[in-house]
């Protein structure tokens, strides 16, 4: 078998573009997912029943179906929903890349919500009591007392989940978005060089994920010592 290194070099600018999209998608989905996930977690821990039930239902639904199916769902639903909101005559063209961003924020939020919930529950009840005793409102207690401590405890898990998310973004391939893997697949199919492109992508993903996991492990040790 002849391994053609040249095809990788020739396509590096295109692959770089795809990679940038992968990083962008990971970053936006992680941030958006954490923000939305935190609200979901708070809703799930709330004593207001409809709020609690809605959040629990959302999280459980998202966690019980495959990400591939969720991507298909949103690829189909997002234009219809936008059309319903804007009242346009025909569904607007959203594009696979933007659909993927919306999907990943909403999907990852369910996973982040579970992490945040566990983080909040790991804070002792006395902290909440103390915050209320000082006269803080619910919002202040969460923002100033509970969440800062919870996030510190959760940090390694949140970062690990982000590494998983980074790997999972490769699934946007199923809606033909051009991420890192998508770019490699397109070139590989055009030039008949799938072996080279997929091997390169695998090696790149491995080194990035491995390095990031290593740093998370170091961080975990640090955080554990502080506690």
């Amino acid at each position: 078998m002849d391994f053609d290194f040249d095809v990788i070099q020739r396509s590096l600018p295109y692959l770089w573009k795809g990679f940038q999209y992968t990083v962008q998608l990971t970053g936006i989905a992680a941030l958006g997912g954490m923000v939305f996930g935190t609200f979901l977690a708070l809703a799930r821990l709330s004593s207001i029943k409809p709020l609690y039930l809605t959040a629990a239902g959302y999280v459980n639904l998202m966690r019980s179906i495959p990400l591939v199916l969720v991507l298909f769902w949103f690829f189909f639903l997002v234009p219809l929903i936008l059309q319903a909101i804007t009242g346009a005559d025909r569904p607007p063209q959203v594009g696979a890349e933007r659909t993927a961003i919306i999907t990943f924020i909403l999907f990852e939020a369910a996973y982040f919500a579970e992490i945040v919930r566990a983080g909040i529950q790991s804070i002792s009840k006395g902290q909440v009591g103390a915050a209320y005793a000082l006269g803080l409102t619910y919002g202040q207690a969460m923002r100033l007392v509970i969440l800062p401590q919870a996030f510190r405890n959760m940090l390694p898990v949140l970062l690990t989940q982000t590494i998983i998310l980074f790997q999972d973004t490769s699934l946007v391939y199923v809606i033909s978005a051009t991420d890192f893997l998508g770019a490699a697949a397109k070139i590989g199919q055009r030039d008949g060089r799938l072996v080279e492109m997929y091997t390169f992508v695998a090696v790149a993903y491995f080194f990035i994920s491995f390095t990031l996991s290593y740093f998370v492990k170091q961080l975990q040790i640090k955080v554990a010592v502080i506690r």
Binding site: M1, L61, S64, I65, P66, L67, V68, L69, F72, W73, F76, L80, I81, Q83, A84, P91, Q167, D168, S170, L171, Y173, V174, L181, A185, L194, V195, Y198, T199, V201, A202, Y205, F206, S209, F210, S213
Partner: protein, 246 residues
């Protein structure tokens, strides 16, 4: 919303006329379950071996186990499946010879099972290692003290306890495995999600098709959950593991 509802679409026939839509969805469920079941066996067997050798005193074995887990955990599942389907046959002549003349669905099935099985084996190995290491140190020492060999200590003392402890995390890995089997559609395997999308493309009743697939996935996940909970109750050590049968 501009959408033509048609819940009766499941009983309509495909353009070819050889089957109805609910029949091909069911066929998809069959592939999903078959891939998941075989991959689960591979994952459990290899994951147990790898996880166990990572807790031994032998440095080369530990290094091998660590390398296995890092390799399969740090490459996205989709990329791994592409490696098995597109790359491995190109570098192995005998495999290539088989792939060329074999039924495409057989090749897709085999590569999906291997890819998914090995991917999950790394996760199972992590759980098994954690399970063994969560046991009190005295258990290993006690095994040695009564004159058991290392193999016997693992076989009769450590592993029986470790496996019981890790049933809950193994349950979630089982659910993940079933969900992950949908990734096999990228190499053309006609499993449930593949069939749901196909049905949507033929009929434009995406909503009905995806709803059916969603409900089926939920049903499968709930069933798997029940089965594992039953196993957990059956093998619980009285008075030892929280959540065991009382």
């Amino acid at each position: 919303m501009n959408y033509n509802w048609n819940w009766g679409v499941f009983f309509e026939e495909l353009p070819g006329g050889e089957a109805t839509y609910w029949e091909i969805l069911l066929e998809g469920v069959g592939w999903t379950l078959a891939v998941s079941a075989l991959a689960w066996i591979i994952a459990l067997v290899i994951g147990s071996v790898i996880g166990t050798i990572r807790t031994t005193q032998s440095r080369p074995l530990v290094a091998l186990g660590n390398a296995w887990v890092e390799f399969f955990r740090n490459i996205p599942l989709l990329v791994q499946i592409f490696l098995w389907y597109f790359v491995v046959p190109e570098v192995s002549a005998p495999l290539k010879a088989w792939v060329v003349q074999a039924e495409p669905s057989h090749v897709q099935f085999l590569m999906a099972v291997i890819g998914l099985g090995l991917f999950t084996s790394a996760r199972v190995a992590e759980q098994v290692r954690a399970g063994i290491q969560s046991l009190p140190r005295g258990q290993r020492a006690a095994g040695m003290a009564v004159g058991l060999t290392t193999t016997q200590t693992y076989r009769f003392v450590l592993l029986p306890m470790a496996f019981r402890i890790i049933i809950p995390p193994l349950t979630s890995e089982t659910m993940n495995l079933i969900k992950n089997s949908s990734v096999a559609l990228t190499i053309g395997l006609a499993e449930l999600t593949f069939r749901a999308r196909e049905m949507g493309e033929y009929t434009f009743n995406f909503f009905e098709a995806f709803s059916a697939a969603t409900l089926i996935y939920i049903a499968i996940a709930m069933t798997a959950n029940r089965v594992m909970a039953h196993v957990e109750r059956r093998v619980a050590v009285p008075g030892y593991i929280a959540g065991g049968a009382k």
